[in-house]
């Protein structure tokens, strides 16, 4: 090992450093080099010691937090395929394998295409490759249906990275969450595959049909049942939305466990909560955003619950806690809304930002049945609003600190 590293330092590194043959590709070398070993840099000036945390560790730990969602999503995709196609002899293992065959290509396309853009921009701009794309590359596939054509994955991640991030100057300068930007693009550009009201289950045509994964008895082309959000939104005024959901096969339990169709990573509230606990223990994501987001859903959802039923759709009467486990809200508030770049930066701002995401999610779902998935739009909207919120918080702070100084000086 040491021999290999010495060889790298002596023979490979000079090629990429200033004056070397591949000087322009330095960001690529730097990324690989610091990926294998921590950099040898020492502090250039005071403070002379630094915390042992860096961007790499932070971003990789967010990816770790996403793993429960990924693994559950893989199993769920295979499991639902097996049920819908009446696969004989299906086991947990075959469900995982079949799911992996559906999901992993999406993840790989997302990472490869996203990574190529990231590296390209880093080389052109001559700055380091930012580890932020590790998170974007994982978040994006997790909010896609497992049946999405791979070319759409490539188009979506490209749009997300270029329009959502790089045209602003890269990580740290972007206004919107890049993964969500990519998803919103697909949502509006190719509604047939990702509209949010079709059910997403792999048909035999789109997945492996190997005999060791079980025998496909029925070859279903694609199922066009509604998602829980669409069912609830379509429920007639005056009817019981819970009953409507039950008729469509959705219960509070299976929506919490996530054994329903939907986006790869966002169906299971349990898997998301596992990731959330990890993020909170390690202190990476803002608990303020998560908590205020939940409060927002409870407050606005609860408000709709007590409003007279005649005035609003049946969806408004759905108990507020259903909103937490339906659709992409929980995934969004834990992993997307807390993106440190696009989220509000001040503590007060985070409370307002999170609360409004929760509130707007319910509002969009209940009052605007055309777009049943309110979480994505709510987060993107609040991403845009976050700098404004912060602006007002900072202005209030300036007023307060001036008043404090004046008061102390006059005393």
């Amino acid at each position: 090992m040491k021999f290999l590293f010495d060889f790298m330092d002596k023979n490979i590194a000079p090629l990429f450093e200033k004056g070397g043959k591949f000087e322009r590709l330095y960001p690529l070398f730097e990324a690989g080099d610091t990926f294998t070993r921590t950099p040898a840099d020492v502090t250039p000036s005071a403070p002379h010691v630094r915390d042992s945390i860096d961007q790499k560790r932070l971003m990789v730990f967010v990816v770790y937090a996403l793993l429960p969602c990924l693994f559950f999503g893989i199993w769920n995709a295979g499991h639902l395929f097996n049920i819908n196609n009446n696969v004989e002899g299906a086991t947990f293992l075959t469900a995982m394998l079949r799911g992996a065959a559906m999901v992993l290509p999406i993840v790989m396309v997302s990472y490869i295409v996203g990574g190529v853009w990231e590296v390209l921009f880093a080389i052109v701009r001559r700055h380091e490759i930012n580890e932020g794309f590790l998170v974007t590359g994982m978040l994006f596939p997790l909010v896609l249906p497992p049946t999405l054509p791979l070319w759409q994955v490539a188009v979506g991640i490209s749009f997300g990275i270029i329009i959502g991030k790089e045209i602003f100057g890269g990580v740290g300068f972007n206004i919107l969450n890049p993964a969500l930007t990519g998803r919103a693009f697909l949502f509006f550009a190719y509604p047939a595959q990702i509209s949010g009201d079709k059910i997403w289950i792999g048909s035999a045509k789109t997945a492996l049909d190997n005999s060791f994964l079980g025998k496909v008895m029925e070859n279903v082309d694609g199922v066009t049942a509604a998602t829980p959000l669409a069912v609830a939104a379509a429920a007639e005024k005056g009817t019981d939305a819970i009953a409507a959901l039950g008729d469509a096969g959705f219960t509070l339990w299976n929506m919490t466990a996530g054994t329903i169709s939907g986006c790869i990573g966002s169906t299971s509230a349990i898997a998301i909560v596992l990731g959330m606990v990890f993020l909170l223990i390690t202190g990476i994501a803002s608990w303020r955003v998560m908590l205020s987001g939940l409060i927002g859903v409870v407050a606005i959802g609860g408000l709709f619950n007590i409003l007279p039923a005649e005035q609003f759709s049946a969806f408004s009467q759905l108990p507020f806690y259903y909103h937490l486990v339906m659709g992409g809200f929980l995934f969004g508030i834990v992993f997307m809304a807390t993106d440190p770049v696009s989220c509000a930066a001040t503590n007060t701002g985070k409370w307002i930002y999170g609360f409004l995401i929760g509130g707007l999610t319910v509002l969009i779902r209940v009052a605007n049945p055309a777009y049943p998935e309110g979480a994505m739009l709510a987060i993107l909207f609040m991403n845009v609003m976050a700098p404004l919120i912060d602006h007002f918080v900072v202005q209030a702070h300036i007023k307060k600190r001036t008043a404090y100084a004046r008061a102390l000086n006059n005393a």
Partner: protein, 452 residues
């Protein structure tokens, strides 16, 4: 007398605390004065290599204020004047002579000092080369003799590892300290504040209002004291001093000659344990013999004139500076670790819970090095850097305003109250390895040039 509890802050747990006793270190032959230490100063040399100088003779003056003189700490021959970029003098080396010739000044007592006018005190301190010990806020530079400060802050607190404990330094020099305070109190219409750390055994002094500060670092920083007692508004000026420098001023006034020694702490994990203590050293003395004994020669080290968070790194062949009461020695850590981004983090020191050590090794003191522990990335405004900031400022936004050269917003957000040292913790915790202190320093310079 008030007690201030500072709630926010963070203590870096590092090995190498100095033992609380003082050893005399007197066998210095080589002395040095560092004009480069005075940032922004344009010196005009009054001597050349080969000249003989008396103790207390003028070495150079401030080109912009010719009354501001800088004098020789010893009697001897100028060995060399080392120049830096644009031929700016960086270092004046003086070889000590056997026989001492010295320049003397008027002597005072603690009571006669109190009867002096402001002009007399200012002129005396400028003339004797002691004025630059007084710094001012905003811009933390040598105090402008023309300005009228609304208050003077004497910092006798110690919260960073390992600032010299002033109660130890003070022993035996109480008279000089009181004389110094009396002289300083003539410089302001307002009050002189003496700020101490809670639990230190420093008595109260006349002509100064004592306050204690408890809490983690940076509860001992002057900016925190000013912020809690008398915050700086635009167009305000306050003077600030380190407590030991008040003793030096007092000694000058009492003895009528330049003070000879000060007490410095030698600390840090790279110092051999038996040498981690306080030394009474001649001002300006070259400390190479001491450093050679105290530091393991087999490792590459960084010697800091200051504490672990704030100070300049100096070469081992140099010595006591004009400013500073402590030296901190750290290992230059260029080691590389396999896949540091995913290791559990038990062996790395951190303030973040992303490393297991933060949860599991709370009591441990660490042998820290100078590793950057990462590489530079674009800054993200997250509020993280504000987490340990006790000053009533929004750290992240202030840094952003400084990066954007927005002087108005910097002033509104309170940059005038601060010194780059107040951002040392922000730089410490920042995962993007931003040069926070450098950004603030540039911001302050821009405001000074542009005017408030």
């Amino acid at each position: 007398m008030a007690e201030f509890k500072i709630k926010k802050g963070f203590d870096i747990k590092v090995l190498g605390k100095p033992a609380p006793h003082i050893e005399d270190y007197t066998d210095a032959q080589l002395f040095a004065v560092y004009p480069s230490e005075f940032e922004g100063l344009k010196p005009r040399l009054k001597i050349a290599a080969g000249d003989t100088v008396k103790r207390g003779e003028v070495l150079f003056e401030n080109k912009k204020n010719e009354k501001m003189l800088f004098r020789s700490p010893c009697c001897g021959t100028i060995k060399a004047v080392n120049l830096g970029t644009r031929r700016a003098p960086m270092e004046i080396l003086i070889e000590r002579a056997e026989q001492e010739d010295r320049v003397t000044f008027e002597t005072y007592t603690r009571d006669t000092v109190g009867k002096l006018s402001r002009e007399q005190v200012v002129d005396h301190l400028l003339n004797t080369g002691m004025w630059p010990l007084i710094k001012q806020r905003p811009f933390s530079k040598i105090a402008d003799p023309e300005s009228t400060p609304k208050a003077i802050f004497i910092n006798a607190a110690n919260s960073a590892p390992f600032q010299a404990d002033f109660s130890l330094v003070l022993k035996g020099d109480e008279e000089a300290f009181q004389t110094g305070i009396n002289a300083l109190s003539n410089l302001t219409e307002g009050k002189v504040y003496l700020c101490k750390s809670a639990g230190s055994e420093i008595p109260d002094f006349g002509n100064a209002e004592s306050h204690t500060f408890s809490g983690k670092y940076p509860s001992g920083n002057t900016s925190v004291h000013i912020n809690r007692i008398s915050p700086i508004l635009p167009h305000d000026t306050v003077y600030t001093l380190a407590a030991q420098d008040v003793i030096l001023i007092g000694k000058l006034l009492v003895t009528g000659e330049l003070p000879r020694t000060k007490v410095v702490a030698l600390a840090g994990p790279a110092v051999k344990e038996e040498f981690r203590k306080y030394y009474r050293v001649p001002l300006g003395a070259n400390l190479q013999p001491l450093f050679e004994k105290a530091i393991d020669s087999r490792i590459e080290v960084r010697i800091i004139n200051g504490n672990i968070l704030w100070g300049d790194s100096i070469s081992a062949n140099s010595g006591v500076r004009y400013y500073g009461s402590e030296f901190f020695v750290l290992e230059e850590d260029r080691s590389r670790h396999l896949m540091g981004w995913t290791m559990p983090g038990l062996l790395q020191y951190s303030s973040h819970r992303v490393n297991l050590s933060t949860l599991l090794c709370k009591a441990k003191s660490w042998k820290l090095g100078t590793s950057l522990n990462g590489s530079h990335r674009a800054m993200v405004v997250t509020g993280w850097m504000d987490r340990h900031q006790p000053l009533n400022i929004m750290t992240d936004y202030l840094i952003r305003a400084a990066l954007a050269h927005d002087t108005d917003e910097m002033v509104q957000l309170g940059i005038l109250e601060t010194d780059p040292e107040d951002f040392a913790l922000a730089a410490f915790v920042d995962p993007h390895k931003t040069d926070v202190c450098g950004i603030i320093k540039t911001g302050l310079q821009e405001i000074e040039e542009e005017g408030i």
